[in-house]
């Protein structure tokens, strides 16, 4: 485990729904941004289909939905720097780290448990 992963924080937001076809992931990200705006140390963990949000080159598409790529691009501005992805989820979706738009840290199932324990509040979307 790297130092970055071990840091923990105030709020861990777990995103386990895909970036398209539903708005749960986007509304989860909104929660993370609000928590950060309130001065909380926020970490994001992409699990299951949520990992698909990390794939680079996504756009809003024809439906007029906002998508999540623009929000992900704003994370740094909100000082949300701990970005984690469940390694198994990447593998399950046939993705590799090079597909990711940003700098994310892959974590094992055991490290997911560590992360949950290392944050005062865990919110799952």
């Amino acid at each position: 485990m790297t130092d970055n992963v071990a840091t923990g924080g105030d709020v861990l937001v777990i995103l386990r729904h895909g970036p398209h076809g539903g708005s749960l992931l986007r509304e989860g990200l909104d929660t993370a941004l609000v928590a950060a705006a309130f001065g909380k140390r926020v970490s994001l963990l992409f699990m299951g289909e949520g990992a698909a949000a990390l794939v680079s080159g996504q756009t809003a598409g024809a439906l007029g939905q906002k998508g999540t790529h623009a929000t992900l691009a704003m994370l740094e501005m909100y000082d949300i720097e701990t970005l984690l992805v469940e390694a198994e989820a990447l593998e399950g979706l046939g993705l590799v780290m090079a597909d990711a738009e940003m700098d994310v840290q892959p974590v094992s199932a055991a490290e997911v448990a560590d992360q949950v324990a290392a944050h005062a509040l865990v919110m799952t979307f």
Partner: protein, 130 residues
Amino acid sequence: MRYAIVVLGGPYSHQASHSGLRFAKALIARGHQLEAVFFYHDGVYNAARLAAPPQDEPHLVDGWVELHRQHNVRLDVCIAASLRRGLLDEGEAQRHGKQGHSVEAPFELTGLGQLIDLGLSCDRLVTFAP
């Protein structure tokens, strides 16, 4: 223990609201304190004051209201998630030039900051999602 509940599922579409309400009653019956229920995502439809389900189904909106009346549980509804789904209280309806309103007390439109506060101040925050 002090609890708070987050409901992300729409009433009658998913089990989330039914389970959330039952969990709320169960934890109060066990002597715990339920501070608030926060409705977010499609969960905001639980605050629709015009909901008129058939009589042989549980009335979820009335169920939440009863929870508030009997146990003083706060019913917080995310304002951003509500507005885009057509759930407006009298003030918001007026502000957006809409006739009629679809949310009323004891449900209260509030911001996501309230959810963060709730999560950090309660012992347990339990999410009911679709």
